[in-house]
């Protein structure tokens, strides 16, 4: 069996503030295979975006990857120097970001920004690069690609800009695409289109896709596997349908229950009481215990791993489904 496209082993990211190290991402492990779609779900501050940036080697001071391994196609890239990361970025792994209004440089033509991404990794002539750029735009469903290439980002709609970002990210058919809430800033109708297109393109190229979002509805229709993050840890992972239908972790259950689409009309939306603990103030035990209806005094100790079939787990002492502890 070949190595998975990406395997994280106990990845930790910490930020230094006020003389102390605060752990934003805590021993995260996950694997994504070729062509697989992984949903990474969590609320704001859960560490999901930081995880994405860490994969790309884009964590900036005062943050750093403080532990664990990032195996991209079998090679550990955690802590690689910039010069060795750069050939990987954009070629073997790519990332798109939340706000398509700001990810494209406002004073450079679209063409410049696509072509430079091609030429960063391949020696191609100007004309050939331009033809490739045009082709890439056609591929993501952009009409009138020649006019779009000449345009500046402010002349395009949000959806169009995000399509261009996706086109840029997929130029070199990377092994891994990390999408950090790329549809959050878009209209709902455009969201669905972009989602479907990104997924289709990744499937076509065999690119593994990590879709970071706070929106469960997005992941429900998208992913193969789902990871739920809370306070820097993956608290539950498993096949999407299983996790959504029968979550193991009480947090997942509450998160699913608060999705508006799941509520009957006229009934107040379900909420999770309280707030996630701040980065500077994380308990040694289960971080969700204070907000959890199932919590017992035991939960002040680090939670055990509860496993269930098929290949599911949760970090919880009181899993909601039958499970064995390891």
């Amino acid at each position: 069996m070949t190595a998975p496209v990406l395997a994280l082993e106990d990845l930790s990211v910490s930020f230094k503030a006020g003389g102390r190290e605060h752990v934003a991402v805590d021993r995260v492990s996950l694997t994504v295979g070729r062509g697989e779609v992984l949903g990474l779900v969590g609320e704001s501050g859960s560490g999901k975006s930081v995880t994405g940036l860490a994969l790309m080697g884009l964590i900036e001071a005062p943050g750093r990857v403080s532990g664990g391994r990032i195996l991209l196609e079998g090679r550990d890239i955690a802590g690689l120097p910039e010069a060795e990361l750069r050939p990987l970025r954009g070629r073997r792994m790519a990332m798109i970001f939340q706000d398509p209004m700001t990810t494209l440089n406002p004073v450079l033509r679209v063409e410049t920004q696509v072509v430079e991404a091609i030429r960063a990794h391949e020696r191609v002539g100007a004309a050939a690069a331009r033809a490739r750029a045009r082709e890439a735009l056609v591929k993501v469903g952009i009409p009138a690609p020649d006019a779009r290439l000449r345009a500046y980002p402010h002349q395009l709609s949000g959806g169009m800009r995000q399509r261009i970002a996706i086109a840029i990210a997929l130029l070199h058919a990377p092994a891994l695409l990390i999408a950090d809430e790329p549809t959050t800033a878009l209209d709902v109708t455009i969201q669905a289109q972009i989602l479907a297109e990104a997924q289709a393109l990744c499937a076509e190229m065999g690119t593994a896709l990590i879709w970071i979002t706070h929106d469960l509805a997005v992941v429900a229709g998208l992913g193969d596997r789902l990871c739920v993050m809370y306070a820097g840890r993956i608290v539950e992972a498993g096949p999407v349908a299983d996790v959504i239908e029968a979550p193991l972790h009480p947090y997942s259950a509450r998160l699913i229950a608060s999705a508006p689409s799941r509520n009957a009309r006229g009934v107040p939306l379900a909420q999770i009481p309280g707030m996630a603990p701040a980065l500077t103030d994380r308990p040694p035990g289960c971080a969700f215990a204070l907000r959890c209806a199932c919590a017992t005094p035991d939960c002040a100790a680090p939670p055990p791993t509860a496993r269930a079939e098929p290949s599911r787990f949760a970090l919880c002492r009181h899993p909601l489904q039958p499970a064995r502890f390891t």
Partner: protein
């Protein structure tokens, strides 16, 4: 675009007219130029003769009317002192000042942009802090004192450069320039540095602030995620964004450098228009003062227009005609 230009031209005309009136009346009110022009022992008859010759014996409205009528016909009057058309007195001195101001500008941008970029990329490094401290110093030193110190150190003590004057010049297409002779260039160094230092500090600070802001933008992060080299990110993505404020400020500063290089020109005895202005004020040479300031207004209007055009070229979002 044409409407825009016509509008700007109209505004310029009003400004020039208002300024000319103010200055004419102001200089009239200061003192009688005859006191400066006539010999100290001149008889009242001799004084009256000079007054009649220059038209200074008439009332203010008449004098102003005459001036305005001639100005409309392109004649800004004759200098009382040089007895030549005021405009040509100024234009003779203009190349020296342009040479000085442009050299200072190139110096300020060529040195300031890289230093500012560096300080913006490494704000907490030793070199970044040193650059910022240096820029505060250059910002706060009084120009005349700084000029005197430059003379003292580099001309008097070290003897590397001449202390004043313009040196040897050659005539190119009717313009006297010192840029093409070694002697002229040596004379240019100290005054150009003196004039450039303040602007240099401004450029450093603008470039640094712009760089720090740009480096936090998503487009820089996306550019890194694309695998671009740091040189490309800084040299293209960041630089093009920070040029916008730099161009605006530099444009305005160029105007003030040309028009008011007075201190530097005085300290280094540079025969430019700044020194001419000071001399003319001292001698109450009204036609030269008025003509000089009218020219300055035109210069500022022209530079502002050019800045607007460059700005539109740099920032696609202000290109109004192409929008929609």
């Amino acid at each position: 675009m044409l409407t825009y230009l016509i509008q700007r031209f109209g505004q310029a005309l009003v400004t020039v007219a208002a300024m000319a009136t103010l200055v004419f009346v102001g200089v009239y009110a200061i003192a009688d130029p005859i006191d400066m022009l006539a010999a100290p022992d001149a008889t009242p008859d001799e004084r009256a003769a000079i007054g009649a010759q220059l038209g200074l014996d008439r009332s203010l409205p008449v004098q102003f009317g005459t001036f305005a009528w001639r100005a409309l016909h392109g004649d800004l009057g004759r200098s009382f002192v040089y007895n030549e058309p005021a405009l040509s007195v100024i234009l003779q001195r203009l190349p020296a000042t342009l040479e000085l101001a442009l050299t200072a500008l190139v110096l300020a941008v060529a040195v300031g942009l890289p230093l500012g970029l560096w300080a913006g990329l490494k704000p907490s490094s030793g070199s970044g802090r040193t650059i910022m401290t240096g820029s505060i110093l250059a910002f706060s030193l009084p120009n005349f004192w700084q000029g005197l110190m430059l003379v003292l150190v580099f001309a008097v003590t070290l003897g590397w450069f001449p202390a004043g004057g313009r040196g040897e010049t050659v005539n190119v297409l009717g313009i006297e320039t010192g840029l093409l002779t070694l002697d002229g260039l040596r004379h240019l160094v100290l005054p150009a540095v003196n004039l450039a230092l303040f602007k240099l500090a401004v450029v450093i600070r603008l470039a640094r602030a712009g760089t720090r802001e740009a480096m936090l933008q998503d487009y820089v992060r996306f550019a890194r995620a694309k695998g671009l080299s740091p040189a490309r990110i800084v040299g293209v993505h960041v630089l093009k964004n920070i040029l916008l404020p730099v161009v605006t400020v530099i444009g305005l500063e160029l105007g003030s450098m040309i028009a008011f290089a007075v201190v530097t020109e005085t300290v280094f005895a540079w025969p430019g228009i700044g020194k001419l202005l000071i001399d003319s004020i001292n001698r109450l040479d009204r036609p030269v003062i008025v003509a000089y300031l009218m020219l300055t207004v035109c210069l500022f209007v022209a530079i502002n227009l050019i800045v607007d055009l460059i700005y539109a070229a740099l920032d696609p979002r202000v290109r109004l005609s192409e929008a929609a």
